[in-house]
């Protein structure tokens, strides 16, 4: 039985795991990815960090991984109360793994939020994050002539990254007109520096940036060959259209937090300002379920800096709860203040970059909404006509969301289509109805049938806190009395071995 298992090794999970381990807890960090870093710090096998903002912070965290058990390539498919984490390890020679822990920190991040439009399932249409992941993780540019579209500031690193890697970016089409937000950015030194940087890059690479525009259709035979871009009026209706030739479209309308684990565990959820379902977390990142913490995008989309801060706070809170290891109050205050600032900024961003419901009017009856089961908009309308008054029943009657991805991609769109057929917009219950995935990752029946054994190296070693002996990968015990974990480093160690896990 470990003290803590952290699920997700993005900024939030890394910060949480390293903080908790540095405080002396026995921590396992489980992540589906092949390399640590999650989305923001996704990197190539031979990465030097030249392309990354905040790479130093990542290197510090990565170098601290020897204080804990890091399990890359582990996809968690279920967490049982108590807690038992069930994962599948290895990418092709999959094997079941089980980890028992007293505490779970959920840091599973988010994925792109997608909206359907005619032609969006043509090969060459990718999510914005997908194009970014390909570039950062594999050094592959998604295409040669790329249109970037959707909404939110994230479109800027995607477009400039692609251009920097040699692609022609035919334009960035931002659905909103976020003028008010510019003032907000101007008041935030970090964000202003970033924005100015992107503006300069847009100019350098001659990338047209158009606000109030959307890609309303993709065209091509077997792959995307062009898109129709429309200027939108205030109501989100398209007023002028033109066709742009391209071989790739990177499109993203913000992000959807990945909540399968907290929903499995019964954690309370709510709807955030961006219309996403998120986990409710208190000041110490505790969810409504005792022993379960959440950090990063799972508690509300807010970007990597916020994820780092929340992760560190979650790690500190777990250390305090499990080991009575008190954090340095000044450090905690700094973190809490930073979280408040970053959350407020994120909320302003969500208000400036909403998803306008006008996208629904641009669907045709035969437009695919659910890519897996090939369910069209027409079939969802039919389900509504048969008495589906919420997304769950729309799914039952149309099969939208029943396929491989379990509604991750179409869940948002289906929720809106089902709710708006009844003249309303989706509420938290609607979103929850599409977010339940008791099996979070496909699991072979063979692996399901066997109760996976606890692998020897995952059995907690005791005692978990031991001063570093210089060579081995044991937890670090600082000399100066203050542990520096994440960016704000606020752990204060206790004297002697802490009382967790005596056996």
């Amino acid at each position: 039985m470990r003290d803590v298992v952290v699920i997700g090794a993005g900024p939030a999970g890394l910060a949480a795991a390293v903080t908790a381990a540095t405080a002396g807890l026995d921590v396992a960090l489980v992540d589906a990815g092949r390399r640590p870093g999650g989305q923001y710090y996704r990197h190539h096998a031979a990465e030097t960090g030249a392309l990354h903002h905040g790479w130093d912070a990542f290197v510090r965290l990565r170098d601290a991984l020897d204080r804990l058990t890091y399990l890359p390539g582990h996809r968690v498919w279920n967490v049982e109360d108590g807690f038992t984490v069930h994962a599948l390890a290895g990418d092709r020679d999959e094997r079941p793994v089980r980890i028992d822990a007293r505490t779970v920190i959920v840091a599973t991040g988010a994925h792109d939020r997608s909206l359907p439009f005619p032609g969006w399932d043509l090969p060459g249409v990718l999510t914005a994050g997908g194009a970014q992941a390909l570039l950062k993780g594999d050094r592959v540019t998604a295409g040669e002539r790329v249109v970037v579209a959707g909404t939110g500031p994230f479109l800027l690193p995607v477009a400039t990254g692609l251009a920097g890697a040699g692609a022609t970016v035919a334009g960035v089409f931002e659905g909103n007109r976020p003028y008010g937000f510019a003032r907000r950015v101007a008041g935030h030194a970090d964000k202003l520096r970033e924005a100015v940087g992107y503006a300069a890059l847009l100019v350098r690479y001659r990338i047209p940036y158009r606000t109030g525009h959307a890609v309303v259709a993709a065209h091509g035979d077997g792959r995307v060959e062009a898109v129709t871009v429309a200027r939108l009026d205030r109501d989100g209706a398209s007023v002028r259209e033109r066709v742009i030739v391209c071989d790739t479209v990177a499109v993203g309308y913000g992000f959807t937090p990945q909540l399968e684990i907290p929903v499995q565990l019964g954690c309370a959820t709510r709807m955030d300002a961006d219309g996403s379902l998120v986990v409710v977390a208190d000041a110490a990142q505790r969810t409504s379920v005792p022993g379960v913490y959440a950090a990063g995008e799972t508690t509300g989309v807010g970007g990597a800096q916020l994820s780092l801060v929340e992760g560190e706070l979650a790690g500190l809170a777990a250390a305090e709860a499990l080991g009575g290891i008190a954090a340095d109050p000044a450090g905690v205050r700094r973190l809490v203040a930073r979280r408040r600032r970053l959350r407020a900024f994120a909320e302003a961003m969500h208000r400036a970059y909403p998803v306008h419901p006008g996208w629904m009017d641009r669907l045709r009856d035969d437009t695919i909404v659910c890519r897996c089961e090939e369910v069209t908009r027409g079939r969802i309308a039919e389900a509504a006509g048969l008495g589906a008054t919420d997304p769950r029943s729309a799914k039952l009657l149309s099969r939208a969301g029943m396929g491989w991805c379990q509604g991750r991609v179409c869940g948002y769109a289906t929720s809106w289509l089902a709710a708006s057929a009844c003249g309303r917009s989706p509420g938290p219950d609607d979103l929850l109805g599409t977010a339940r995935r008791p099996i979070a990752q496909p699991v072979r029946l063979r692996d399901l049938a066997d109760d996976a054994p606890v692998r020897p190296h995952e059995v907690a070693q005791d005692p978990p806190v031991r001063p570093r002996d210089g060579a081995g990968g044991r937890p670090v015990r600082p000399r100066d009395g203050t542990l520096r974990a994440g960016p704000e480093g606020a752990v204060r160690p206790r004297d002697g071995n802490h009382p967790i896990n005596p056996a």
């Binding site: 589906a32 990718l126 994050g129 997908g130 592959v140 890519r371 090939e374």
Partner: protein, 83 residues
């Protein structure tokens, strides 16, 4: 440079790359078709969420091309068992 074999043809990859990235870099945009409409599918989300990119590697079906790291000599087909 190392190679995998996609439907009989060699495709190069850099160490550490996913099979999906290697295929995309080689200009291969789709590698399976859907069950009902026969619609082509390749990478979409890039991070293991959408399952558009399913492949069979060395006979093992239903893997996500964006999640599986290429290894020299991998024999890759598009799709899963239903393909």
């Amino acid at each position: 440079m190392s190679q995998i074999v996609f439907e009989g043809r060699p495709v190069p990859f850099e160490p550490g790359q996913s099979i999906g990235a290697a295929l995309t870099a080689a200009g291969i945009r789709s590698w399976r078709t859907t069950r009902f409409g026969g619609r082509p599918r390749g990478l979409f989300c890039g991070i293991g969420v959408c399952f558009d990119c399913l492949i069979t590697v060395n006979g093992r079906p239903s893997l996500r091309a964006c999640m599986v790291e290429a290894r020299p000599g991998d024999v890759v087909q598009g799709g899963g068992p239903d393909a």
